[in-house]
């Protein structure tokens, strides 16, 4: 679209509108506000719920391979399908779902650039309350690609070695420890601050006012100015792993950095662990 490293992971509203009848293109909404889908969604779209479906409901973890297969089978997605994900808040949880689709090896998954808000801002784009019926499939996922994910022990090692870029994508107030989490959100931590050695690049700086991603030059400048070393691996984190998925997508797919991982434990884990170093 605009000289991103990978142009095949992002579609425009126009592209999607032109493929509304294409059976090989499946649309899935994943919004922060889980009431939005029922209020109205892009015709043909299925819904995945980030609170009840994309995470293990007992232990804190991403949905299992079997669980992912069951979810995609139920909404009739096949491994050969082109899947377009979209959601509110500039695709926060759509990006989280994109990360999961890649972890489980889905070949062709894409984000709708600008997400739900961009679609809604264009007067001729339809929304419906009718839920399309798709015949169930027998989705078989790949073994999880753990190279896309970081866990606490690695993050602690990276923080100590300073050999890996740690990118904190939360707001400035969260990074500096003024607040533990944005007001009113239930998932929080015991302490405020950031991982020692992390640089602050709030996710919101990667998008335009209409929710679409900034162009390649702006994105390169943004991370360069923040001190990101392009010759090193990168780990992104936020509060619960969704905003960091958004920045993970930018770094890995739009900027084309090879080794980028999402630390989905993020601040709710790190900021609650006894004895780990914290910077403010």
């Amino acid at each position: 679209m605009t000289n991103y490293a990978h142009d095949d992971v992002l579609v425009s509203t126009q592209w999607l509108a032109e493929r509304q009848k294409d059976a090989s293109v499946r649309i899935v909404e994943i919004s922060v506000d889980t009431k939005l889908f029922a209020a109205g969604h892009i015709p043909g779209a299925a819904e995945l719920n980030w609170t009840t479906q994309l995470q293990d409901q007992v232990q804190r973890d991403i949905v299992s391979k079997q669980g992912f297969e069951a979810l995609l089978s139920a909404i009739g997605v096949r491994p050969s399908d082109t899947v377009v994900l979209y959601g509110d808040h500039s695709n926060w949880f759509a990006a989280y779902a994109f990360w999961l689709f890649k972890i489980y090896g889905h070949a062709d998954v894409r984000l709708l650039n600008g997400g739900r808000a961009k679609w809604l801002s264009e007067p001729d784009r339809p929304l419906t309350t009718d839920v399309a019926k798709h015949a169930p499939s027998s989705y078989v996922a790949q073994e999880p690609n753990i190279a896309l994910r970081s866990k606490l022990p690695e993050v602690l090692a990276h923080s100590a070695s300073r050999a890996v870029n740690l990118v904190d994508v939360r707001s400035a107030d969260e990074f500096t420890g003024k607040v533990i989490a944005p007001a009113g959100l239930s998932e929080t931590a015991q302490r405020a601050g950031h991982i020692p050695g992390a640089i602050s690049v709030p996710w919101s700086k990667t998008v335009n006012e209409d929710g679409t991603f900034k162009n390649i030059v702006e994105l390169k400048t943004l991370y360069a100015d923040a001190g990101l070393r392009t010759d090193r691996p990168t780990v992104s984190y936020c509060r619960i792993g969704e905003r960091s998925s958004h920045s993970w997508f930018v770094l890995k797919y739009l900027l084309g950095h090879n080794d980028v991982r999402n630390y989905d434990g993020s601040w709710t884990e790190y900021g609650s662990v006894i004895g780990v170093p914290i910077e403010r």
């Binding site: 939005l36 209020a39 500039s90 209409d210």
Partner: protein, 325 residues
């Protein structure tokens, strides 16, 4: 209609007009020497706030255009609107009388009392989290949810959209402005307002400055991080297309905590049960009156205290918390 006898065929006949204005009450104990301030009591409107004016005008416009109420296919189309509560309550009141549906999309920080009143009037209520970290766009949150309903269920809902609808400005050109002009005998020199949709500020200023260009329209904004429902800091005003800075003489930023304290002052010293936005606007008026003579100032008191009991108690714990423990 006989406004003297105050006997009406419908509660909608109580909607404010030049012949049936909301009251102007002079401030006495809280007066600033050398100035005269009047409070315009908008909670005397039938659904309890200044928003009755915009709601009525927007409904009239939609009905003129055939977009609201019974449609050609026999169905009845209602209203969906993003609201911090008052516009929704006004629309829900009118909807209850006229028999169309009303769906209000409110931010989660809206006081529980307002949500109850919306439901009491029969509205459907969607509560949307408004506490996510700052977003560059404006199509998320309450506006996004309301627009989604309006587009996905266009047969059931039309969205007046108070943030963009010029009827919201026209309401004040038609009613609030002429009321103040007549009530003051043309002597009004200052009007003090808050900024939300900006319909009041833009409409009042348009009308009054055409009458006499020297009339000052002063807007008051709460300091950032406030929780005064319905009001916006300038940093939040991108959402309103009705904001016309050229029509506002001065914008004062007031520490938001004073909204609640001054509301209590208005109650304790003037017997005025005004809401927190009125408290904030009064503080702005007081500051201007201490700086320069205000010969005839009108403090718009957007609504009453009734919908903010819990908020008032939370913000004034030393004085009020005991009452609800």
């Amino acid at each position: 209609m006989d406004h003297q006898a105050r006997v009406y065929d419908s509660v909608l006949d109580l909607l404010p007009t030049e012949e049936n204005p909301s009251p102007l009450v002079r401030l006495n104990a809280l007066a600033v020497p050398g100035s005269t301030l009047y409070a315009k009591l908008e909670w005397f409107n039938p659904f309890g706030s200044i928003k009755d004016r915009a709601a009525a005008e927007m409904v009239r416009q939609l009905q003129r255009e055939g977009k609201l109420g019974r449609q050609a296919d026999g169905s009845i189309r209602g209203i969906v609107e993003p609201t911090s509560g008052n516009t929704g309550i006004s629309l829900a009141g009118i909807a209850a009388v006229q028999g169309f549906g009303m769906r209000a999309v409110v931010p989660s920080k809206v006081p529980a009392e307002k949500r109850v009143f919306l439901k009491l009037l029969g509205a459907k209520v969607d509560v949307v989290s408004d506490s996510l970290c700052p977003l560059p766009g404006t199509e998320d949150g309450t506006i996004g949810m309301a627009k989604t309903h309006a587009r996905a269920s266009a047969d059931r809902y039309v969205m007046p959209n108070q943030y963009e609808n010029l009827a919201n400005v026209q309401a004040h050109i038609n009613t609030t402005g002429p009321e103040i002009w007549r009530q003051s005998g043309g002597k009004v020199t200052h009007v003090f307002v808050s900024l939300g949709t900006c319909g009041t500020a833009t409409g009042l200023s348009t009308y009054l400055k055409a009458k006499r260009a020297e009339i000052k329209v002063i807007a008051v904004q709460p300091s950032p991080g406030h929780d005064v429902p319905g009001l916006r800091n300038l940093s939040e005003l991108g959402v309103s297309k009705l904001f016309a800075p050229e029509l506002i003489d001065e914008i004062l930023e007031i520490p938001h905590e004073l909204a609640y304290r001054r509301a209590m002052d208005l109650a304790r010293h003037e017997g005025l049960l005004a809401g927190p936005s009125s408290g904030l606007i009064y503080e702005g008026a007081r500051r201007i009156a201490e700086r320069e003579p205000v010969a005839f100032g009108v403090v718009i008191c957007c609504d009453g205290a009734f919908k903010y009991a819990a908020n008032l108690a939370a913000h004034l714990p030393d004085e009020l918390a005991e009452a609800i423990e």
